[in-house]
């Protein structure tokens, strides 16, 4: 094995097929970048789900003096409140935690949320009313609470935060499916392009490979320069893709999303590095796979 000889063969091969090499690198970079973005979104969604599902509550709002609902006839009575509290206790272990929020607390929170806005000044504690904040062991089981309490006397409405979040997550899931779909299509294109490039390379070097066979070069030695060429293209492409997702992390997440949405966590650098390693591995494996399969057909030894 002569490393220098192999290196010069690889270099010549890459230069001879320069346009194809560039096409290869760009395709690999774009498909891997999309794939990486898909992975990051996926990670982001699961991280957000973990974060938010821990916090989501079902809120049982009690009637206030202003309530218009049929189940309300003035503010909820002490007996009604007591009944609700007992019933919630009876629903353990599904119900993990119950917290009673008084009008004053609701008012304080409201003031905080809308500080500086004219609505904050016009509201009074009585307008906001009292509520039970129920934390469920399994947030997906909220329907049980809804069916048990909605429409009962003294209860204005039952709100489930998860339903709101679900819409957001469905949107993110959809985005993720689309980006993954595009990425997979691009990866297929990449494999085909690698195959085609190798075919061209094998054809343009058929004299050399023919002589190599005749003088008894091993199959490995004949195929190695081709294999290295596609792997080098894959490594360069993957490096560009890693650059793209690092840029995404810095420009989109760190500079824009994180300052704008401080209440939720975003993917960290460790996720970015894991995804980078995955991209590199996938790029190399796909390129090597495509090269080997093609060379078996077009480079008979």
């Amino acid at each position: 094995m002569r490393a220098q000889f192999v290196a010069s063969e690889v270099w010549q091969g890459l230069r001879r097929n320069l346009t194809m090499t560039i096409a290869l690198i760009i395709t690999i970079a774009v498909s891997l970048a999309l794939f990486g973005a898909g992975l990051l979104v996926r990670q982001q969604v699961s991280q957000m789900k973990g974060f938010w599902f821990d916090k989501v509550e079902v809120s049982i709002f009690l009637c206030t003096k202003n309530s218009q609902e049929a189940s309300c006839s003035g503010p909820a009575s002490e007996a009604e409140k007591q009944q609700i509290a007992t019933d919630l206790e009876g629903m353990r272990p599904l119900v993990q935690d119950v917290y009673f929020e008084t009008s004053q607390e609701a008012f304080n929170r409201f003031q905080e949320q809308f500080a500086g806005s004219p609505i904050a000044d016009s509201a009074t504690p009585e307008d906001l009313g009292e509520s039970y904040r129920v934390k469920l062991a399994d947030p997906d089981q909220y329907a049980v609470i809804t069916s048990a309490f909605a429409g009962r006397p003294g209860i204005e409405r039952v709100d489930d935060q998860k339903q709101v979040l679900d819409k957001l997550f469905r949107l993110l899931d959809g985005l993720q499916v689309i980006s993954m779909g595009i990425a997979i299509a691009m990866l297929i294109v990449t494999v085909l392009l690698v195959g085609n490039t190798m075919r061209l390379a094998a054809y343009s070097r058929r004299r050399e490979t023919g002589i190599m066979r005749l003088v008894g070069a091993s199959k490995f030695y004949i195929q190695l320069p081709f294999l290295l060429e596609s792997v080098i293209a894959a490594v360069i492409g993957a490096a560009l893709a890693v650059g793209a997702i690092v840029a995404m992390k810095i420009l989109l997440v760190d500079r824009f999303l994180e300052p704008s949405f401080q209440f939720t966590p975003f993917v960290g650098w460790e996720t970015v590095w894991v995804v980078s390693a995955i991209l590199l591995a996938i790029g190399i494996l796909l390129a090597a796979f495509a090269a080997v399969v093609t060379l078996r057909r077009y480079l008979k030894v």
Binding site: F5, R207, R213, V215, A217, S218, K219, V301
Partner: protein
């Protein structure tokens, strides 16, 4: 060194077989002409020796190995024992004379130091000293064939297979090539040469195996091309 035992070869696309029940035994150090008209099976015979093809039936033995039963990863090892020369030289146009010969050693992983000593030796032997840095297109046909022979012989193979090596050369140049092949033969290398060149066969007077329609019709020591002198 090379033994064909009841070898037949049938190509799928062709009606009649390329070789039919061929039995030939070539000893170490022999010089054998393979003659016969185009399509008589000469090239098939040579391809079977190199395991470029498998025989449809029968056994081909080369350098003590049953070529038909050789696993594919052992084929390169077989080919290192066989040098090959063609009518069309098959040199790499973008490499110099030296590089063309060195290429054959580089691709089988020989160390650089070894290459630097044996390539000039073999180039001197074929009569190309001083032309190491020329490119193939700067050489005459005879010189190009000498480069090809140097490349085939540089690894000191036990067998040299030549498929019409003088087919593209004028008679005088051909004689020079034949002298070179004879010298290589004298070093103990077995040579099998397919040819159409009656003049050469008649002059050199070596063993002649004649093929016609895939059948060995003549196997004669010190023979002539096709008719008695």
């Amino acid at each position: 060194m090379i033994r064909f035992e009841n070898v037949s070869k049938q190509y799928k696309s062709q009606h009649s077989p390329a070789l039919r029940d061929v039995n030939v035994d070539i000893e170490r150090g022999e010089f054998v002409f393979l003659v016969g008209p185009s399509g008589s099976g000469k090239t098939t015979f040579l391809r079977l020796c190199l395991k470029e093809d498998r025989p449809t039936s029968g056994n081909v033995w080369v350098a003590g190995k049953n070529v038909g039963k050789l696993s594919s990863w052992r084929v390169p090892q077989l080919r290192r024992q066989i040098g090959t020369v063609f009518q069309d030289f098959r040199l790499l146009p973008n490499k110099t004379v030296f590089e063309n010969v060195a290429f054959a050693l580089e691709v089988i992983g020989k160390p650089r130091g070894h290459i630097k000593t044996v390539v000039p030796e073999v180039l001197e032997m074929v009569g190309l000293e001083g032309k190491e840095k020329r490119f193939p297109h700067e050489l005459s046909g005879g010189e190009q064939q000498r480069v090809a022979i140097a490349r085939a012989f540089v690894n000191r193979p036990e067998i040299l297979i030549a498929d019409e090596p003088t087919g593209n050369l004028d008679p005088n140049t051909s004689i020079g090539i034949m002298k070179l092949l004879d010298r290589i033969n004298r070093t103990g290398t077995t040579i099998v040469m397919a040819t159409h060149d009656a003049q050469i066969v008649d002059q050199v007077r070596k063993r002649v195996v004649e093929l016609a329609d895939g059948i060995v019709v003549r196997d004669q020591d010190r023979g002539v091309y096709g008719y008695a002198h």
